[in-house]
């Protein structure tokens, strides 16, 4: 993960970074160079980024409202999970997602990205208060958020039952919180838990944003 903080290229266009730099950066994160966000994918992501980052404020940066608009087709819809994702994408914690942050974070969602990265990302996502553990209260808070989002009402007893059951399965050492290793073990028992950490579209994003194909500036040797 060292590459995250070490480089921060500034170019004239706000938030924009050279595709070649980004592609090589994401490269060093992955162990196998063939499992890489390619230069053409980075360029295609820029098409998507441009669209998202100018949807409300035309400043080339993704604001929270723009993120919500893209996820929910509604700029005012707050959601605990969308907020968590936004905060995790916003590596610099300055309230906006810049292009570099966008590419680096989405890289985790690439079908070829290492499973380990996906598991870790999910752990950070659910560790709401960033204590290094997923605590019982955090899990309950998330279940409540999902029920609320789905317009469902369950008794507190029932929610406790659901949370307790999951906790007794995941919290192996019984200390009342789920640590990284316990999370890894739990995910390997329930692999479907990280299915939303993979976006198949990232693989054919060049098809989804064909405008890239005509305005590409870089010869892509990896294709």
């Amino acid at each position: 993960m060292g590459c995250y903080c070490s480089t921060s290229k500034k170019t004239e266009a706000q938030g924009y970074e050279e595709p070649t730099v980004l592609a090589s950066e994401t490269l060093c994160e992955y162990h196998d160079p063939s499992l890489n966000v390619t230069v053409s994918e980075v360029e295609a992501l820029y098409e998507l980024y441009k669209k998202l980052s100018n949807s409300i404020f035309e400043d080339g940066l993704i604001h929270r409202e723009e993120f919500q608009l893209a996820l929910f087709r509604n700029k005012n819809k707050r959601n605990l999970f969308a907020d968590r994702i936004f905060d995790l994408f916003d590596l610099k914690r300055n309230g906006v997602i810049e292009f570099g942050e966008f590419v680096r974070s989405l890289g985790v969602f690439h079908p070829n990205a290492p499973l380990e990265d996906k598991i870790n990302f999910a752990f950070k996502l659910y560790d709401l208060r960033q204590t290094g553990f997923i605590e019982r209260e955090e899990l309950k808070e998330m279940v409540l958020a999902l029920l609320h989002e789905s317009d469902l009402e369950l008794s507190d007893d029932m929610i406790e039952t659901i949370v307790n059951k999951t906790f007794s399965d995941a919290d192996i050492n019984g200390d009342g919180k789920i640590d990284q290793d316990e999370w890894k073990a739990f995910v390997s028992k329930h692999p479907s838990l990280i299915k939303n950490m993979t976006l198949p579209y990232l693989k054919d994003i060049t098809l989804a944003f064909p405008s890239f194909v005509t305005r590409t500036e870089i010869e892509d040797s990896e294709m």
Binding site: L52, L71, R73, Y126, S150, M158, I162
Partner: protein, 429 residues
Amino acid sequence: MVLRKVGKYEIGRTIGEGTFAKVKFAQNTETGESVAMKVLDRTTIVKHKMIDQVLASRTKIYIILEFITGGELFDKIVNHGRLSEAESRRYFQQLIDGVDYCHSKGVYHRDLKPENLLLDSQGNIKISDFGLSAFPEQGVSMLRTTCGTPNYVAPEVISHKGYNGAPADVWSCGVILYVLLAGYLPFDELDLTTLYKTFFLVSNGSIEKAQFSCPPSFPVGAKSLIHRILDPNPEHRITIQQIRSDEWFQKEYVPVSLLEYEDINLDDVNAAFDNVEDQRTNQPCENDDMAPLTLNAFDMIILSQGLNLANLFDRGQDSMKYQTRFISQKPPKVVLSSMEVVAQSMGFKTHIRNYKMRIEGISANKASHFSVILEVFEIAPTFYMVDIQNATGDAGEYEKESDFQYIECAFGLTFNSAKSNFKATLKSK
């Protein structure tokens, strides 16, 4: 005559009116084909607090259905007056068969009346609006807001007590039988208070008989059956099984199967399921006897729309996911079969595999197909979550949205029972 058009459909007269929907005759101006168009007014639904934000944007939903050519049983009575004993009995037998079938699937109509009984080209009864009227607690408030009089509704429904769907439907069948034979209503009071008084002759605080009289023309057998049906006390009221063994009912009785199932090739069904854009299919679901999938707390969390980054990639019309969820305490098989009846009564095709149902239909503009996937999950012992979402389809954004909301609306009404019953049990704890 004022002609209105929706898309390529010219709308004609109203051929039916329910609590939620109006059904209008409509004609495809390109092909001349006659269809039934179901018009749902969203504001009405919102007013009933059934569904709130999902029905916010546009005012109406139009659904094109097969036009059942025989018209309403109601029209027949209006135009021809009372029916003969044999004809009345035949309709009544078909009605009882249809209602019994739906009850066996756990669905109660609660709004049975001749206007909801359609006749097909062979003169057989089709019960309509089973889905839309499967409302539970809200029965009374909705009846008050509709313009019709609640003449077909059982006394226990009006009196605001908790009631069971089955005896309530039996009562309505009795009123319908009376109307078929007499050509007019047994209880023709215009307001609830008078109607209520008519139902109950209260002496010493105990319920006695409903006040009505049968005209002398009524056959003796029918008269005694009607009296056993129109018993204000739902616990003493005759049951469907007892009706079936009634001597008058038995005469010339040919049991009908109301819903004709198509011969579905199992391979087609499986292929249809496998095409679904749904990662859950990876999970083991081969065994027919298995229980529904159990969701742990994290499984539930990842259902959040906020965790579905695929929405960032706006892949055009196809990308929009509509989903809704309900909680039910009913056994999953009952949930599925209830939903099956509801979907079928709305004119959709259904395929069930394990705890998953695919609902297919023609989109409102009739130009494209759409499909919806419904799946039952266990979230805690005896607690089930029903997840409903649209599958791939080539319908445009608007059609997809309205089709989905139409289904959501109908299912939501059916499931409200689970939701509100659940709240009630909580309070009583």
